[in-house]
């Protein structure tokens, strides 16, 4: 039973304490939604969870093992969707996704991933002709093309239309039903059934306390 958790995480950006004493835990099939105003550290927390950043204090563990002990092993568990979509303008949609899928040991069918986000018809279109929303769909199709247990989604609904958002909700539900975990930061409502909510405002140090 995989368990992803963090204990007493402390994080600074520059001189400022972004959050302190933050803990979370998430198990197979669960979803965690990060909430908080701009600058409350949602993206920072997701980057900490991905291992791109190191916490200044506290630990983040996968099945009881600190993720910084085996970063490559942790990478194999996760998919990260950040602000940038990493779509190469001169490669076709298909080539873009195949490249990322082939870096993983368990590449699945690309066509199914494209169809899940309704971009099957764009297969041969070069990345430079895509709109922002289409690029985001490509980026989301990427994480379907090679299954991983943990999805870290940083504002995944940015630039998506209503139809794509419902595609995303459906894929997240399927992913959770098959035992996946999802951690997402979002401002808009996305329908995640009984997702737990982590409000980052609760972990901000007030000026008086510091």
């Amino acid at each position: 039973m995989a368990l992803f958790s963090g204990e007493n995480i402390l994080c600074f950006r520059g001189e400022r304490t972004v959050f302190a004493d933050l803990s979370f835990r998430i198990q197979l099939g669960e979803a965690l939604v990060l909430r908080g105003p701009n600058g409350s550290g949602k993206s920072t927390l997701l980057r900490l969870m991905a291992g791109l950043l190191k916490p200044h204090d506290g630990t983040i563990t996968w099945d009881g093992e600190n993720i910084s002990d085996d970063p490559e092993g942790h990478n194999a568990h996760l998919h990260y969707v950040g602000h940038a979509d990493a779509v190469k303008p001169v490669l076709s949609v298909h080539e873009n996704i195949v490249f990322w899928a082939n870096l993983r040991a368990n590449a699945g069918p690309i066509e199914a991933a494209l169809d899940a986000f309704g971009i099957g018809y764009l297969t041969d279109v070069p990345g430079r002709f895509l709109s922002a929303g289409q690029k985001r769909r490509v980026n989301l199709a990427r994480i379907l093309a090679s299954p991983a247990e943990l999805w870290l989604l940083d504002e995944p609904t940015t630039a998506l239309d209503a139809e794509a958002i419902s595609d995303l909700e459906r894929e997240i539900a399927t992913h959770r039903a098959s035992g996946g975990m999802v951690i997402a930061s979002t401002h808009t409502e996305i329908g995640l059934k009984d997702a737990r909510i982590l409000n980052l405002d609760d972990f901000r140090l007030t000026e008086d306390a510091a």
């Binding site: 991905a50 291992g51 791109l52 950043l53 190191k54 490559e72 092993g73 990478n75 194999a76 996760l78 990260y80 950040g82 602000h83 940038a84 979509d85 990493a86 779509v87 190469k88 001169v90 490669l91 080539e95 490249f99 990322w100 082939n102 870096l103 993983r104 040991a105």
Partner: protein, 222 residues
Amino acid sequence: MNTFISIVRRDLQLAMRQGMDSVMVVAFFILAVMLFPFGVGPEANILARIAAGVIWVAALLSSMLSLERLFQIDYEDGSLELLALQPCALEITVMAKITAHWLTTGLPLLIATPLLAVFMSLPSDGFWALLFTLAIGTPSLSLIGAIGAALILGSRRGGVLLSLLVLPLYIPVLIFGVSAVDGAISGLPIKAHLLIMAGLLVAALPLCPWAGAGAIKQALET
């Protein structure tokens, strides 16, 4: 190994499709060398005397031209952080990108060199020495340059900073490359020079991807 090949193939594909990069590097190389006959005059003996040095310095500057873009584009479009989040060590990824850089700049330079050697009336005794030193020297240039390219990520005016960081580190390669060619022309044994250059390459091979990966991790933390 699969990852290594995938990344090299993707970078070559990108270089082919957006074209120009390799062409520009070779064009710069040829033009830079062609300026010298205009600058120092067309006397064959003077050109022959400076040929090795001129070709080496031009090769070094042109291989630096495309270095700035080695990681910068992937950094800006988010590919670099995804590459860092793959199950293979980042060092392998960096090594793959360096390999692709050499294939798209070092190799074309090598192919253009015979033409320039004739143009600069390089004595025929030095011809093979020049090709051979460039063949083992340009991979070192790509390797060392990758550290600089990784260090400038996220900084503005990275290009100038890159040359300040990297050019001093190129000096040993340049010294032994040029003196091997000069040695070959004057009929001296050059084995020692070649061994030192090979040594530099062997030392750079593990060290530079390691340092480059460290610098990239640092850049991704911001």
